[in-house]
Each structure stands twice: as C-alpha cells, then as structure tokens.
C-alpha cells in the first residue's frame, strides 16, 4: 500500500500548475538525474518495451495479434477481466464511503484519535499477514473459523452446511472484505486531513445564511474540497486493487483459485517465470488498463475545483459541534470491529501448533509453543535479518537516488513539470509481474552472480519513481525565500540540497518510512526475484500457507512477529506521513 500512498502526492500535483517561480537550472545539476534515469531506464522502461515486443513475437518472429487472441480466447479470460474491473470499482467505492463516514465520525479529539489509530494499524500490515488473518477467521470448519460459526448461527443451518466464505461463490467477497479492512485506515487519514483543512469559517458562513446540516456538507465541505479528495481516495484504492495478488495467493485454496483469479494472478500463472507470448499479451492488456485508469483519474482530479490554499493556518475549529451520539457509536463500533481480526491472529498465535490446527482459538489452553518453535529455529532469524538488511539498504539507496534526482527536477515549471509528474506516476504503477522476465534478463547482464543484490536493485528501481515525485513536490513547494536562503548559504549544490532536505524533513521521513515498510511487507518482488540465500519475510510466510491449517499456529506467530516493526514505524510516523505526502496544504 505504501507505494500507492505516494500517488496521493502525485495526483495532488497533477492539478493546475501552481509553481510560478523559476529556479535557474544548471547543466551540472542535470547530471544528478543520471542514477535515477539509469535505474528507471534499465529496470522499468526497457523491460516494458521488451514485454511489448514479446507480446507480438515468438522467439523473435513477428506473429501479430496471435498471442492476444489466444490469451483472450482462453476459457475464462472474460471472467478474469470482469473480476479485475469489479475489484477496481466496487472496492474503492466501499473504501471511500467508509473512509469518509469514519473520518467524519471520529472528529472528536478524545476518542477520535484512538479510533483512527486502530484503523491505521491494518494499513501497516503486510498483505500476506492480512491474508493469513482473514483465512483464519473464514476457515470453513465452524470449530476453527469464527466467521463460519457466526454465519451458521445467523442462517440457522448446521455448521457443515453454513455458507462457505472461502468457497467458490463467496471467495471474492471474502478477499474484498480483507482488502477493505486493510485500506479504510488510509482513507480515513486522508479524509480527516482534508476535513481539517476546510476553514471552519466556511461552515459558519453557511449556517449564518440559514443553511442546515445538508447545506453545510454540500457548500462548506463537498464543493470546496471533498469532491477532489473523493477522487483521490477512489483512484488510490482502485490502483491499489492491482495488489490483490498477495491476498489471493495466501487466502484462496487451490480449488477456488480460478473463482478468485484476477489479471495479476493470471499473468503470473501464464508467464511462468519468463514473460513470453500469452503471458506478455495479458500483461500488456493489464498495463494499458492501469495506465488508462491513471490518466482518467488525473484528468478528473484536474477538473475538480482546486482547494483554497490559505497561507494563514487556521486554528483548530473550537466551534465545530460535537458529532451526534449515533455517529460516535459508529466510530467506536468500527474500531471494535476492526480489532476483531487482530484479536483472532493474536489468539491463534498463542496456541500450540497442534491446538491451533485442531480447534478454535477460543478454546484450548494458551501457550507460547508456536512462538518458541519459531524463535528456536534458525529460519525465522535468517529471514528477519535478511529482510532488515534488505529494507535498510534499499531505503538508503532510494533516498540517495531520489534526493539527487528531485533536486534538478524541482527546477522545472509548467508543462515539463506536469509531464515529468505523469511519467513518474506511470512508472510507479507498472505492475512488476508484467515485466518480470525482461527484468531478469537485465539483471543477468548487470550482475553475473548472486541475486540478493538483484532483489535489492529491483526494489530500488520500483521505489525510486514515487520517492522522486514526493521529494520533487516537496522541494518545489518550498517558499522562495527559503530556497534563496539555502542557495546563498550553500556553496555547492550538495550543501543546497542538504539545506533543502532539512527544510523538508516530513517528506524525507515519509519517503524513508514508506520505502522501508514497502520492502519489508513485500511478497511479489521476492516471489519473482529472490535467489540463493535471499529469502525475504513475505516469501517465508507465504511458503507456509500451502499447509495452512497444519501450520496455522506457526503462521500466526510468524505474522505477529513480522508485523511489529512496520506497525510501529507507521504508527509513530503517521503525522509526518500525512504531512509529507499531502503536498502543499500543511507546513
């Protein structure tokens, strides 16, 4: 999710040009773009071209649209494409509506902050962990799966005949519920930031003219700000659904893979490690859809009325009326509901492996056996250590490359700035499954042996576009005096850069935290590019889901251990995250 968070800043930037100030560009500064250009060119642009090429050729021979026709005529391609679209429309709608309602309901500072904290925790979890959690809840055995137990009670049927949430009929609904659970916190944060940015004087004015609640919502919130925020949140969630891959891999049993399949999974299944023929054709279809979606969203956001940017920060509104009791109950109820999956995961991890597999987490004696088995083995420590080093190294590299590139890019104004923005944004949403084969070829040319560094390189290349965008926007939004002072104070470009970075601490922190969490939580990059001795955490957990029930104790314990660091980071840095990413508004 973290990369998508970055797109917030991006979408925000695609609006009308707002940077009138021209920095003097220097030829030397352009050289700073080189590392980023090499990475993006070699590991994104070139592979995309290779995939396009592979989709119309077989071993170098032109075959026209054959691959597309074969891929699209496969028995259930239609269903897969339809399901992908369903994901991209239904899930964002639910996330947006829930996000707005909960943001509005959690306004009261006393419990509102706590409610938002609870909602934010799932956004920091690796999707693999979310998948494990919901699969535990939805287990078809009413003696283990609490959701099945409740469903049996509600429908009045015996346990064996209860609706199967992971069965072919409902598996997509089950997956979507897990996704919504993981994403609403993000929407709430964004809406809350937007609502806080609406000047309360506007609502007062509407009320003074005799407006009722609905008028306040319409004239003081929706028209000035919310329309645009809704568009941003909806787009974010829609683009985010291309990451359902991890969830499907973890949650859907083999027999319902087909009923759960989306393009991401289908491309991976047909590509088989390399990207050729049919797999490449499907990948191209997917790529075109994602980029088209992005462009439409960008246009939509552009047309929306830009928010008023009041240079004078308005003090928090003391006059805002307290939410009604019903809305407060809604907020508290949501927080409690959001805690249930976390509770299930924790409770399962507190049973021995045999108990966790054989009966429900609400029965049987508590024990730390599952944790003990894990921490006494060497595998967990190896993978934790590897992932920690990997995430740290990648974060440092991404920050370095992105800071260098953001510096000259921030000098751009007008159409070139917008064009770079769109290009970087497109680069940050290329689905990695589509370019896996060509990326491996490039890695083979660059690094003849050892693939831990290959894995790191891919992560760096995937992380750079979004980091550059956020930092570029932050640099470009700095008040002119600060930039001038920095340029006068620094003798060389690097001292200027350092001063600029210091003025932009929230953006730098946001980029660092998101990149670290992104790498830590990753499954798909590890799945496609891991190698000898390079077994990242996501892969370690996902590997055990093949025997899900038998491993549920170890999986739950491993999931809890894997989640501690990202949750801590995101919760501690959440203010900087919002400040650093919602470009402009807050400073």
């Amino acid at each position: 999710m973290s990369r998508v968070l970055g797109e917030l800043a991006v979408l925000d930037d695609v609006g009308p040009p707002r940077r009138g100030r021209a920095y003097p560009a220097t030829g030397a500064a352009s050289a700073l773009l080189l590392p980023a250009l090499l990475l993006l060119g070699g590991l994104l642009a070139w592979p995309v071209l290779r995939t396009l090429h592979a989709s119309v050729t077989t071993e170098g021979h032109w075959v026209g649209t054959t691959h597309f026709r074969t891929a699209l005529s496969a028995p259930d391609t239609g269903a897969v494409v339809g399901r992908t679209l369903l994901w991209a429309l239904v899930v964002p709608a639910v996330v947006t509506v829930l996000g707005y309602l909960l943001a509005a309901a959690s306004r009261r500072p006393q419990e509102g902050g706590l409610v938002r904290l609870v909602l934010v925790v799932p956004t920091a979890l690796p999707l693999v962990v979310t998948g494990v959690t919901f699969r535990l809840m939805y287990d078809p055995d009413p003696e283990r799966g609490v959701a099945t137990l409740v469903a049996a009670a509600l429908t009045g049927r015996p346990g064996a005949a209860a609706p199967q949430l992971l069965g072919p009929g409902l598996v997509t609904v089950a997956l979507m519920s897990a996704f919504v659970w993981a994403w609403v916190g993000l929407a709430v944060l964004v809406f809350r930031a937007a609502l806080d940015a609406v000047p309360p004087s506007l609502a007062d004015a509407v009320r003074a003219y005799g407006g009722n609640r609905r008028d306040v919502l319409w004239d003081a919130q929706w028209r000035p700000l919310l329309l645009r925020t809704v568009a941003v949140v909806f787009t974010l969630a829609a683009l985010g659904t291309s990451r359902t891959f991890d969830l499907i891999l973890v949650m859907a049993p083999g027999s319902v893979r087909d009923e759960a399949s989306v393009l991401a999974l289908r491309v991976w299944q047909t590509s088989n490690g390399a990207t050729t023929g049919e797999g490449a054709a499907l990948g191209v279809v997917w790529l075109v859809a994602v980029v088209a979606g992005m462009l439409v969203a960008a246009l939509f956001v552009r047309q929306a009325w830009p928010p008023p940017r009041d240079p004078v920060e308005v003090a928090p509104a003391p006059a805002a009326p307290a939410p009604r009791r019903l809305t407060r109950l809604l907020a508290v109820g949501a927080a409690l509901a959001w805690l249930v999956p976390l509770g299930v995961l924790l409770a399962t991890s507190l049973h021995s492996t045999v108990d966790a597999a054989a009966r429900g987490w609400w029965r049987g004696p508590l024990s730390l056996d599952s944790y003990r088995d894990l921490v006494t083995g060497s595998e967990l420590w190896r993978t934790l250590g590897f992932t920690l080093v990997l995430a740290t190294v990648v974060t440092a590299a991404v920050l370095g490359v992105a800071l260098l590139a953001a510096y000259p890019l921030a000098w751009l104004t007008g159409p070139p700035a917008q064009a770079t923005g769109l290009l970087l944004m497109a680069a940050s949403i290329v689905p990695v499954q589509v370019i896996a084969g060509p990326v491996n070829e490039v890695l083979g040319v660059v690094l003849s042996s050892g693939t831990a560094r290959g894995l790191a390189l891919v992560h760096v290349a995937l992380g750079v576009p979004f980091a550059v965008l956020v930092l570029r926007n932050a640099f470009a939004d700095l008040p002119a005096e600060q930039v001038r002072a920095a340029r006068l104070g620094g003798r060389h470009w690097w001292s200027t850069l350092r001063l600029l970075a210091r003025h932009n601490r929230p953006a730098v922190v946001a980029v660092a935290v998101l990149e670290f969490v992104q790498v830590w939580n990753d499954l798909v990059v590890g799945l496609l590019f891991s190698g000898p001795g390079a077994a990242p955490l996501g892969l370690f957990l996902a590997g055990q889901t093949r025997g899900f029930v038998a491993n549920s104790g170890a999986l739950a314990a491993g999931s809890v251990i894997a989640s501690v660091l990202p949750v801590l980071l995101v919760v501690l840095a959440r203010r900087q995250l919002v400040a650093g990413l919602v470009a402009g508004g807050l400073r």
Partner: protein
C-alpha cells in the same frame, strides 16, 4: 555482448546504486566456492538434505526454492545465474530443460539402480539428463486398525465399505469413510493415476503420460467412471464434497489421525510426516495398498525427485554422480522419512519400518508406473488453478454435487482435450523455431 561492453554496463549500474547495494552484494556473494543446489524441500526435509550433503567432500550450498522451483529456475536462467544442480519434483521438467539445452548429460554412479522404466523418464535420446534421488510410494491408504478391522482388498470392497460407513455417517453414527484434501489438485490426480493404472494397459497409460493418446479414449472414461462411483457415495467425506474442496492435504491427514472424523485416507508414504505431528493417542496408523479390480493387480504409482546438473557446471555433474550413489543418502535413511529410488540400497539400511516395507514393495512390484501428471507436458501438468489439477477438481465438484458420472466424465475429458490442444497450438511455433 563483448566482455568489455558487459563490464562497462556493470560498472555504470554499480555506480548508480551507490556503494550501499554493493556492500550487500559483497556480503552475500563473496568468494564462495560452494556448489549450489536448488531444492524443492523446506523444513525438516531441507534439514535432512543438508545433513546428506555434509558427507560430500567439498562445500555445498543448499537453496530452498520452494514449490515454484520451475519459475525460480527459469528466472535464474534468464539472469544467467543458474545453480550448479537442481532437484526437480517432476520428470516432465527434466525433459523440458534438457530439450532446451539447459542441462548437462550425466553419468550416474555404478551403484545407481532404479526400477525398470524409471531411468528412461529422465533421458532424451538415450542420454541421461537426470538421476532419481528420492522416491515416493503413492498407492497407500492410511487408517487406524481399530476403525477398520478388515481392510478392503479389492476396489469393489472399498466401494462397499465406503457405502456402509457413509450411510452410518449420514445417520450421525460414526466417522465418514474417506478424508480427501481436494483443495490440492495433486491429491486428486494421484487418485486418478492409481485408478487409471488399474483400468488401462501399460501402453495406454504410457501414451497418455507422453501426451500422445486421446483423452477421450475408453481408459480415461473408465477411470473417471470408477472415481465417480466412489466419490459420489452419499456421506463419503466429512462435511461433504464442497467442504472437501476447501480441505488441504495436511488438514485431511488431521481429520483422520487427530479428529478421527474420517476413517481412510489415500496418499503417499509422506503422510506419516504430518501424521506423527498430529496423532492423538498411542494407536499407530497402518497402511494398505490402493485396491484394484483383482487383489493381485494392485497398482504401484511412484513419484520422485530427480537431480540435474546445469550446462557449464562440471562440479554439478560430479555432485549429481555422488548423489546417485547408493550410500549418499544414508543419513536421511537412518533418520527416517526417506524412500530411496535406488534398489541397490540394502533393506537393512532402513531404520524406519514403514519405509523398509515400501522399499521391498518397490523391488517386488510387477509393474511400477510413474506419476502421470508429473510427466505431462507444459501447464497441463497442473498447479493451483491450472491444468489437470483444476480439471480434476471440477470433476470432483461435479460428481459430489449430483452430476451424473457420464456427464461429469464427458466434461472432464472435453476440458483435458481442449487444454492439451491449446498447448500443442502454443508450442508449435516454438518447436519450429528450435
């Protein structure tokens, strides 16, 4: 590309990612002379294999590539970082890689002796490209003797027992007759192979495995009819067919050994691995052979893992030769849970009584058939949601959902034929390009 060009690109990219990435690289690659082996195993099996290679003279680095070892090796091949040796779970892969020119020809150790026919499965044009290093006996039913005093010896007895126990289970008066992990497609293909081996002649079975026979032919129909006869018995599975389709293999073992919700479980010799972990009480599970039409004809389906050496690796060839020798796997034999494909290994070496008996069966069985789905070409070989795995799951869903046996078999054979044709279509230009 010239070495110089290669070097230049490398230097540029190194510079691009700054010193940090390079540090990990140095830390991870280093000057390590160990021979790299990629394996499918993890957990306990991986630990055992590490013990095995300790006995090899020089250093061996074992990499667990997990179940997606095919994708892993293809990616490594593209990147030019193939390991020296890989241990593959399917013979079809060995043939595919060998035909693509990825592998080196091997010369097995003199003590390497596998049941007749098995060695040919790893050869292309009479040249061996792989050796069997681990076998799996895939024709076993597992049960507690106290629940089935008189195990069925023929297929008809098995059906009768299933009907009797099924009726009892439906009345709420006892466990279901069968546990089945139908969420894992390979469990269903293992069922199919055992039945097919009984109803089809050797030639018919082999032709299907090579992808040459017509899936609409009589043997496949007869095998599917037979499966439908058993699977459609009311109350056959705990929770019914829909529930069975969400039951993974490990859970089906737990249903028998722990919950005792079901009486019989069909699967390979590896069941005892999960069985031991979840067993309740002191009673030990026993096995009987997958029953055929006649007692004497019980099929024996064998699966296995094969070691291959990648092109350009001399040390890989040496390691594979060593692995093919009779004594290399002694530590694993002693620890239990290992069945050697090598019939020259003395039975006395087996410390694990179940495996010793199975190893004897491997020697005395009239005809050993090799796992069919492992040999099918391309994606038809199956994985989650793909190929024969998915087709068998659809068939299972049909017959447990009241679709008649004839109709369900027709649907399955049609799917198999279409899928095989699609693959032949997709493979054709590739073949001509070679």
């Amino acid at each position: 590309m010239t070495p110089a060009g290669r070097l230049r690109r490398r230097t540029l990219l190194r510079a691009a990612v700054a010193a940090t990435t390079a540090t990990t690289a140095a830390g991870c690659a280093g000057a390590d002379p160990a021979v790299q082996v990629a394996v499918v195993w993890n957990g306990g099996e991986l630990a055992r294999f590490r013990e095995v290679v300790k006995g090899y003279g020089s250093g061996v680095q074992v990499i667990s590539a997990g179940n997606d070892i095919d994708a892993f090796l293809r990616a490594r091949k593209l990147a030019g970082t193939s390991p020296d040796v890989a241990i593959l779970p399917r013979s079809g892969l060995v043939i595919e890689y060998a035909r693509s020119g990825w592998l080196r020809e091997l010369s097995p150790a003199s003590s390497y002796a596998v049941p007749p026919g098995m060695a040919d499965l790893l050869s292309v044009g009479r040249r061996p490209y792989g050796v069997w290093v681990k076998a799996a006996h895939k024709s076993l039913f597992w049960y507690y003797p106290s629940t089935v005093p008189d195990p069925p010896r023929t297929w008809d007895q098995l059906v009768a027992l299933t009907k009797r126990l099924g009726a009892r289970a439906r009345a709420g008066d006892g466990p279901a007759p069968l546990a089945i992990g139908a969420a894992d497609g390979w469990v269903l293909t293992d069922w199919f192979e055992n039945v097919l081996a009984d109803v089809a002649t050797t030639e018919e079975y082999e032709a299907l495995a090579r992808g040459e026979a017509d899936w609409r032919g009589p043997p496949v129909h007869a095998a599917l009819d037979r499966l439908a006869e058993l699977w459609s018995v009311a109350g056959a599975f705990p929770g019914g067919g829909r529930r069975a389709l969400l039951t993974q293999y490990e859970e089906s073992v737990i249903q028998v050994v722990h919950h005792r919700r079901a009486v019989l479980l069909f699967e390979g010799d590896f069941v005892d691995d999960v069985g031991r972990r979840f067993q309740r009480g002191s009673e030990q599970v026993e096995t009987f052979r997958f029953p055929a039409s006649r007692v004497a004809d019980s099929p024996l389906i064998v699966g296995g893992d094969a070691a291959v050496a990648f092109a350009g690796s001399t040390r890989g060839v040496e390691l594979v030769r060593w692995l093919s020798g009779g004594s290399a796997f002694t530590p694993w034999l002693r620890a239990g849970g290992y069945l050697s494909p090598n019939v020259s290994v003395p039975l006395a070496e087996y410390h694990d009584p179940v495996r010793r008996r199975l190893a004897a069966e491997l020697r005395t069985a009239g005809v050993v058939r090799f796992d069919l789905s492992d040999r099918l070409p391309g994606p038809l070989t199956g994985s989650d949601g793909v190929g024969i795995w998915r087709i068998m799951q659809d068939f299972f869903a049909d017959v447990t959902d009241g679709v008649t046996a004839g109709e369900a078999a027709r649907r399955a054979t049609r799917q198999l034929t279409t899928e095989a044709a699609r693959q032949a279509e997709a493979a054709r230009p590739t073949e001509s390009g070679r």
